[in-house]
Symmetry: C2
Subunit: 134 residues, 2 copies
């Protein structure tokens, strides 16, 4: 079995340790969209030991906090789906009332073109994550 999150980073790495990594998802539709990806190949959160679940969520929440500080989104969406790639990863998605799908999830059909807005730079986001996850 070949898993694309085992064989590649899955985006620009902003922060990593031996347990997980935070990557930036490219694309202008959802500025600041990041993913937190477990290093090893595990399918579900409840396949992790409780302390590992907490550790992964700490990275997810650090990501949310960093993005709120830099982007001030109207809402943050968090999701662990994995139907296509069953290797634990969390989507952390800043949402804006004028984005293409708000208030629907980003996986719903577009409602409008969506306002384009500036993205925080990778360096600023990486710095903030390093502070929060120190």
């Amino acid at each position: 079995m070949s898993c694309e999150l085992c064989t590649a980073d899955g985006g620009t790495v902003l922060w990593r340790d031996d347990f997980c990594r935070v990557v930036r998802v490219s694309g202008e539709a959802f500025p600041g969209f990041c993913r937190v990806i477990l290093a090893r190949h595990v399918r579900e959160m409840t396949d992790l030991a409780p302390a590992e679940r907490d550790r992964l969520m700490r990275a997810v929440f650090a990501c949310e906090e960093a993005l709120r500080g830099l982007l001030a989104p109207d809402k943050v969406n968090l999701a662990s789906l994995g139907n296509q790639v069953a290797h634990l990863h969390w989507h952390v998605i800043p949402r804006f009332e004028d984005d293409s799908r708000f208030p629907d999830p980003i996986w719903a059909p577009a409602r409008r073109a969506g306002t384009r807005r500036a993205s925080p730079g990778d360096a600023a986001l990486a710095r903030r994550l390093a502070e929060l996850l120190a």
Copy 2:
């Protein structure tokens, strides 16, 4: 401001304490679909203290574990979105390869009618949650 998760349970309550509740989402499309809803009105996970975040996630993971035991889904989807109702709640959704949208998120357009399957009873789910969250 009126919030529908402040003024009503939002589904059949399977488990609750003074901090959060687990409710069953009605509908046959996604059998076993539950939500974990924070008791008080808070917008984002990072608006909670770290210990409260962990406490809420423990309920989410208990829900995942109960549903895996009773339904053996092909995948479990977890999501905290809140774009429509910005009162912290987690969707815990058992997914099957023959459901109407797999491998897309449940918010994407349907791919097929989807195979109907039996749902675990509320009593069985409530009993398992009580054990896991004791």
